[in-house]
Symmetry: C2
Subunit: 726 residues, 2 copies
C-alpha cells in the first residue's frame, strides 16, 4: 500500500492539485503548489482564524505571504514550470508522513537541470514550514536563485495586507504587515541554510544566490515561520524566535519530530481495509485531510468547510464540522473533538447576538461562522446569472437547524466520551440556549394543538422558506429532549453547577415545563401510508420529475438550482440528503422498512449538489443492510478530493478546495455504516455489513475514556479489544 498520491505535469490541473496535495497542520494550510508559483496559480498559506474584509466585499481568511518562495534563473531567463515544459515532473503527497515531494527536470541549453523539493508543515511547531530543495545539472551551469517571502499569493477579495515592512537581519528576512480592516499584525520570518553559498544580494524580502550546478547536488533548506496577532502580543518577535529555534535544529531533526507525530496520529486513527485497495487508499487519504487540518492547539478555533485549502466559503465554520467531521474526532481524537466543540462555547455570544438581531431568544448560531461567531453569510449569497444581480438568499436567517446540529453534537460527544467537563465549561449553556432559541422561533398552531417551525430551510437548500421541514422539526424536538435530559443529569450530578448555569441562561423551573411542552407538542412529520416522510409541508404536491429532466431546463450551466425561481425550486428534486439525513441521525425511531422506503423514494430525486450528500446515502443504505447500494456512495465520498470531481466554480467565483465534511463522511460510512459501530446500553457494539470485496476492516476508538481496537473479518465474529491508553 503506497500512502501516496502523485501527479505529473499538467498545467490544467494546477488549481485542483493545489487542493489534492495540500499540506496542513491545524494552524495553517499550504496549497500543493510549486515553489515558483504565485497568485495566479493560487499559491497560498491560509492561516486559520485570521480574517479580513476589504470594502464591502465579503470577509474571508488571510493568506500569509509565501515564505517558501524559490525560483531559478539563468540571468533574465526563468527556469520554472511557468516558463518551461519539463522533461520530467512529479508531485507526490506522502500522506502517511505529511510530506510534499516534488521532482522536476528541465532540458535547458542541451543540459538537464533537476530540482527536487521536500517540504512539510511541522505538526508540533505549528508556525513552522520547512522546505529542502536540491539542485543538480548534468553538465556544469551557473544559475541564479531567488528565495524569499512572496506577497503575490492568492486573494479572492483582497488585498488583505497593507503596511508591509521588511527587516533584513543577517540571517533572516522578516516581512510584517497588517490586515486592512482590523490592523492585525502578521509576520513571516524566513531563513535559508544554503550550505556554503553566499548571498549575492538582497532586495526587500528577497535574497539572490548564484550557484554553479553539477551532477553533485546542492541543497537549500528554507525555514519560514508565521505568527499573527491572534497568536500573541508580538508576532514579529515570536516569528523571529521560533525561526531561531528551528534554524538551530537541522532539517532532519525537524522532519523526525514531524513524522513521529504523524505516526502517533495514524496509530490512533488508521482504518484498515483488506481486499479493496482503492477503498483503503481513499479512506486513508480522507483521514489524512482530517488529521492535517484538525486544530489540536486551540479550543477557540474550528475547521472551515474547505479546511485550510484557501479562502473559499469565507473560511467559515458550517454545520459540516459538527455533523460530518466531529464523529471521527470524537471516536479517535476526543481532544480535537473537544476543541471543535469549545469553539461553539467560545462563539456563544455571537449566537446570542444573532438570535437577538432577529428578535429571538437563545442561541441562533451563524450559518457561516467566523472567529467570534459572527455570521459571514450574506443576505445575497448567490448572483443571478441572467441579470448579474445579487439574489436574496435565506441561508443566514432561515437555516435554523444549525443550532440543533450543535446541541446534538455536544450531547453526542458527552454520551460517547462521558466528558462532563465540557458541559460544565459552557456546553450546557450552549444546549440550553439552543433549546431557548427553538422555543422562541416556533409558532403554535392553536387549532392543531402543536408547535410548528415554519419558514425555514432544511439541509436541502434548493427549497427555501418551507414549513415543517422534517429534519429541522425532529432535530428541534431532540434539542428539547437533550436540554431536559441535561437538566436532569446536572441536577443529579452537579447541582451547584446547574444553579450557576440556570442563572447564566436565565432559566427557571418553569422553563423546564415549557421545554417539555415543546417536546410533547412539536409537530414532526411522520411516515405516510406508503411509509414516506414528507420533507416539508406540501413537498409531495411539487412536480415529480427526474434530476436529469430538471438539469435539462437550465438555460445556463451556472444558474442556481434553488432560490425562488430556480429549476429545482418547484419540483421534488432536492440538493442533498434531508429526510435521509434525519433517518441517519434518528434511525432508531423508524423501522427498517420505513428507512428503506424513504431511501428508495428520495435517492432518485437527489441531485447531490453538495458533497455532504453521498456519505449519508451510503450510511443509511447500511441501516437497511444494503451494502450494494451503499458502496458506490461511499466510494464517491471517499474519493472526492482524489478525483476532484466537484463543482469548482459558481459563476466566476472559485469555490473549490478540499472537502473535510466528505472526508468525515467517508469515515462515518466505513465505521458506522459498513462497520456497524454503535453504542447500546452504554456498550460498544459492532454489527458489520461489509461490502462484498472487503475481507477485513479494522479500526480504533476511544469510548468512555478507554481505547478499543475493533477487528472485523468477513464471515467471523467481530472482535472488540481494549487497548492500553496511549
Amino acid at each position: 500500500m503506497s500512502w501516496q498520491v502523485r501527479a505529473g505535469y499538467d498545467p490544467n490541473q494546477i488549481v485542483s492539485n493545489g487542493n489534492k496535495f495540500l499540506l496542513a497542520n491545524g494552524y495553517m494550510g499550504y496549497r500543493g503548489t510549486m515553489e515558483e508559483y504565485g497568485a495566479e496559480q493560487l499559491a497560498a498559506n491560509t492561516i486559520l482564524g485570521l480574517y479580513d474584509q476589504v470594502g464591502d466585499k465579503w470577509r474571508e481568511p488571510v493568506n500569509a505571504p509565501n515564505g517558501l518562495f524559490f525560483k531559478l534563473f539563468d540571468q533574465a531567463t526563468e527556469i520554472s514550470l511557468l516558463t518551461l515544459k519539463p522533461s520530467f515532473h512529479q508531485q507526490t503527497l506522502d500522506y502517511q508522513q505529511g510530506l510534499h515531494i516534488r521532482k522536476t527536470a528541465f532540458s535547458y541549453n542541451e543540459n538537464t537541470i533537476t530540482l527536487q523539493a521536500e517540504r512539510f508543515l511541522h505538526m508540533k511547531r505549528l508556525h513552522l514550514m520547512v522546505d529542502e530543495i536540491t539542485l543538480a545539472a548534468e553538465k556544469p551551469i551557473t544559475l541564479q536563485v531567488k528565495i524569499g517571502i512572496d506577497t503575490a499569493v492568492w486573494d479572492i477579495n483582497g488585498p488583505h495586507l497593507i503596511n508591509f515592512e521588511t527587516e533584513d537581519l543577517a540571517d533572516q528576512i522578516i516581512l510584517s504587515a497588517k490586515t486592512q480592516r482590523e490592523h492585525k499584525n502578521i509576520t513571516v520570518a524566513q531563513a535559508v541554510n544554503a550550505s556554503k553559498l553566499n548571498c549575492l544580494k538582497k532586495e526587500g524580502q528577497f535574497a539572490y544566490y548564484e550557484v554553479t550546478l553539477t551532477p553533485e547536488p546542492i541543497t537549500f533548506h528554507i525555514f519560514a515561520t508565521t505568527f499573527n496577532a491572534n497568536d500573541c502580543q508580538n508576532p514579529k518577535e515570536a516569528a523571529k524566535k521560533e525561526l531561531d529555534v528551528a534554524f538551530a535544529m537541522d532539517f532532519a531533526s525537524l522532519k523526525k519530530e514531524h513524522t513521529q507525530i504523524w505516526k502517533g496520529l495514524w496509530e490512533k486513527a488508521d482504518v484498515e481495509i483488506d481486499g479493496d485497495s482503492k477503498a483503503q487508499e481513499a479512506i486513508r487519504y480522507s483521514l489524512y485531510h482530517l488529521l492535517s487540518i484538525a486544530p489540536r492547539h486551540s479550543d477557540t478555533v474550528s475547521i472551515p468547510a474547505r479546511g485550510l485549502s484557501g479562502q473559499t466559503y469565507k473560511g467559515a465554520i458550517f454545520w459540516d464540522t459538527e455533523m460530518f467531521m466531529l464523529p471521527f474526532f470524537m471516536h479517535v481524537l476526543p481532544e480535537v473533538a473537544k476543541n471543535i466543540l469549545s469553539y461553539r462555547i467560545y462563539t456563544l455570544p455571537g449566537a446570542l447576538a444573532k438570535a437577538k438581531e432577529y428578535g429571538f431568544n437563545g442561541a441562533f448560531y451563524a450559518w457561516e461562522s467566523q472567529e467570534l461567531g459572527q455570521d459571514a453569510t450574506s443576505d445575497y449569497n448567490v448572483v443571478d446569472v441572467f441579470t448579474k444581480r445579487p439574489m436574496r438568499t435565506y441561508f443566514r436567517d432561515k437555516q435554523i437547524h444549525i443550532s440543533g446540529d450543535i446541541a446534538y453534537a455536544f450531547w453526542q460527544y458527552y454520551e460517547y466520551t462521558k466528558d462532563l467537563e465540557l458541559l460544565l465549561k459552557g456546553g450546557a449553556q450552549v444546549i440550553f440556549e439552543c433549546a431557548k432559541f427553538y422555543y422562541s422561533y416556533a409558532y403554535y398552531k392553536v387549532e392543531k394543538n402543536r408547535f410548528e417551525l415554519i419558514d425555514v430551510i432544511g439541509p436541502d437548500e434548493y427549497h427555501e422558506r418551507v414549513y415543517n421541514n422534517a429534519y429541522t422539526n425532529k432535530l428541534a424536538q431532540k434539542t428539547m429532549k437533550i436540554a431536559l435530559d441535561l437538566w436532569e443529569m446536572l441536577a443529579e450530578n452537579a447541582p451547584e453547577d446547574l444553579a450557576e448555569i440556570l442563572t447564566a441562561t436565565e432559566l427557571m423551573e418553569i422553563d423546564k415545563e415549557k421545554f417539555q411542552r415543546f417536546y410533547n407538542e412539536i409537530y414532526v412529520p411522520q411516515p405516510n401510508d406508503a411509509e414516506i416522510i414528507e420533507q416539508f409541508d406540501n413537498y409531495f404536491s411539487l412536480e415529480d420529475v427526474s434530476v436529469t429532466a430538471v438539469r435539462k431546463r437550465l438555460l445556463d450551466d451556472k444558474e442556481y438550482w434553488g432560490g425562488a425561481y430556480g429549476v429545482a425550486a418547484d419540483t421534488q428534486v432536492i440538493k442533498q440528503a434531508d429526510v435521509i439525513f434525519m433517518l441517519h441521525l434518528f434511525g432508531e425511531d423508524y423501522t427498517k422498512s420505513e428507512i428503506q422506503k424513504n431511501w428508495e423514494y428520495y435517492e432518485p430525486r437527489t441531485e447531490h449538489g453538495s458533497s455532504l450528500s453521498a456519505c449519508i446515502y451510503a450510511l443509511v443504505a447500511c441501516q437497511f443492510d444494503n451494502q450494494d447500494w451503499a458502496y458506490p456512495y461511499f466510494m464517491k465520498t471517499a474519493t472526492v478530493d482524489l478525483t476532484g470531481e466537484t463543482k469548482q466554480y459558481a459563476g466566476t467565483i472559485y469555490i473549490g478546495g478540499t472537502h473535510p465534511a466528505a472526508n468525515g463522511g467517508a469515515w462515518l460510512a466505513a465505521i458506522k455504516g459498513f462497520g456497524g459501530l454503535s453504542v447500546k446500553n452504554n456498550q460498544l457494539q459492532v454489527t458489520p455489513k461489509l461490502p462484498k470485496s472487503w475481507q477485513r476492516l479494522a479500526f480504533n476508538t476511544i469510548f468512555n475514556g478507554e481505547s478499543y481496537h475493533i477487528e472485523i473479518e468477513a464471515g467471523k465474529t467481530p472482535r472488540i479489544s481494549k487497548k492500553n491508553n496511549s
Copy 2:
C-alpha cells in the same frame, strides 16, 4: 357641461378608444370600436359571467360574436377606417344617455361618402344592442353593404367558441356556438331594418345589400340579441324571441326606454361640482362607467376588475369591487350593492373549498374570482422577462386580506343600509366563515402572547411573504369584531336565524370565546415613536431609496418590480397604498397627526403601480384636512379612463381596459374625502373639505332606506335634506 367625450381619427388610439368609448349595460360590454372593426382592433362584446378555458391557458371571459358588424364596399374595395384615411371622423360617447355616436366621411372617387352611427346597449332589455346607421353621398354612387354577426372578435386565450351553426330565417340571422371546455351554448341573433332595400344575398351569418347613396340619407337599423346558457335553458329561442320583440318596436322607442333609465340613474347617482369643470366631467365620466357595468339584473354576478371592457384580468372579481366600487353603490344604488355582495354569498362554497385546499377552515375567497368562486389566479401569474419562465407568485395563496375585505364590506353595507335581510340570506355565514378562516390561518407566538398573521401579501404586492402586514392584521382583527358584533346582534334580533346559521357554519358558543381571544390577542402594528406604522415586520430595515432610483435599476422596462428579486422587493418602495389604505378604513383609531405622518412617510415611497392607489392617497389627505395634497391624486383617479395613462401591456399581454375601481375611488375621494360624508351616532354627517376651486358639491345618498340630498357650498353650512323615496 357637455356630458360627452370625443375623439378624432388616430389609428394609434384604436385600442385605448375601445376602452374609453365603452358601452355596457351590466350584462355585456361593447368596446368603443367602429362598426367595421374586427379582432385586430379588439372588437368585442364581453359577456359577464361566461367563461371558457382553452388547453392550459388561463380561463377568461368569452367575447360574443359581433352582432353589429357593418361594412361598406365598392365592389372589391372596402370603404372603411381600416382602408381609407377619412376626410372627417369623430367618435362620441354621450355618457349621460349611454349612447355611442360616430360620424365618418370618406373622400372617395371625387365624391364624399358619409357614415353616421348611433348605438346603445339597452339598459332594460339587457341582451339587446341597437345601432342606427345612416349613409349618404354628395353625388350618387352605388355601393355594397355587408351586415352580419362577425366571429372575428378579440380573443386573448381563445378560440373560445366552437361548433358554429347559422340559421337563416327570413328576417333574422341566428349564429349559435358552444364554449370549448364546458360546451355552454351561446346565440347571437340579428335583424336588420333597412327601409325599402332588398337584401342582395346572404352568405352564412352575413347579408349583403346594394345601396345607391345620394345626399338623401339612407338608414339601417341593426338589432342584435345575445343569450347564453347561464341565462336560460334555450339561449337560441330566447335570442330570437327577444329580437322579435325589439324589432317590433322602432329604434326611437327603444332609445327612449333606454335613455329614460339613464335619466333615472343619474337622478340618484349624479355628483355636481361647480367651479371646476374638469373635475365635474371626470367624476361624471367615472360614474358613467360604474353605472353602465353595474349588475342590476342578477345577484350571482359581480363586477370584474376591468369591468366589461374585455378579457383582461381574466374577467375576474377582485377585492376592487368590495373596497373601491361598493361604497358608491351602497350610497346611491343599494340594490346593486346587494347584488354585488350576494355574489360572495353565491360563491361561498368556492371560498370554503379554497380554504380546505390549503388546509384551513372557513372561507378563503378567491383572489381572482370567477363565476363559481373558483380562483383563476395562477401560481405563476408573472413571466420573467429575462428567462421567459413563469415566476411563482403568491397572490393566490398569500393575499389573505381578501376574506377580510369581504367581511368588512358586508358589515359596512349592513351598517349603512340596516338591511338585515342580506345577512340572513347568507351574509352572516360569509362573515362567520371569514372569521373562522383567520382563526385557522393565524399562528400563536407563545412568548409574545399574541396571534400573528405571517407569510402574507398585503395590498402592496411588491413585497411577498411578509409577516404581520399592518393592513391585513388590522382587518383580521376587525373581522373578528364584526363576527362578534354580528353574533350579538343576531342573538338579539333574530335568534332563530342565528341558531340555523351557527349550525350551518358549525359554530358553537365556545367559538365566540375563540373569536374574542383572537380579537384581543392579534398583533396589530402600532405607530412608533415617529408615529409611523411599519407596513410589515422589518419593513423599516429595507433599503430606503426613492421610486426614481428604483426605476433606474430596471434592466428591462417590462420586468416585474416585485417577486423575490424584483427591483422593489428589498426596498421600501411600495406598489400602492397599504398602511395608508388601513388608515382610510380605520382612521377613527388613529390621531390626525399619526395619519398625516404616515401619509408623508409612505407617499414618496409609493410607485402607484396600481390604479387603486391614487384615490386612497386623496382620501386620506382629506382625513388630515390637506385638500391641496388630495386634489392631484383625486384628479389622477377621476381621469384614469379619460387619459388612458395606465399600464397597457405586461410583457406581450394586453392588460388595459377600464378601471372601475378607480372610478369608484373617484367617487369615494369626492364624497367621503372632499365632501366629508360620514355617519356618526347613526346620523349622516358632513364635514366638507372642498378643494379651493370648488364652489359647490352636491350629491345624493340613500341611508337607512331614506333618500337624502346633500348640498355643500363653499363658505356655507352644508345642507342635508331628506327626499321623497323614488
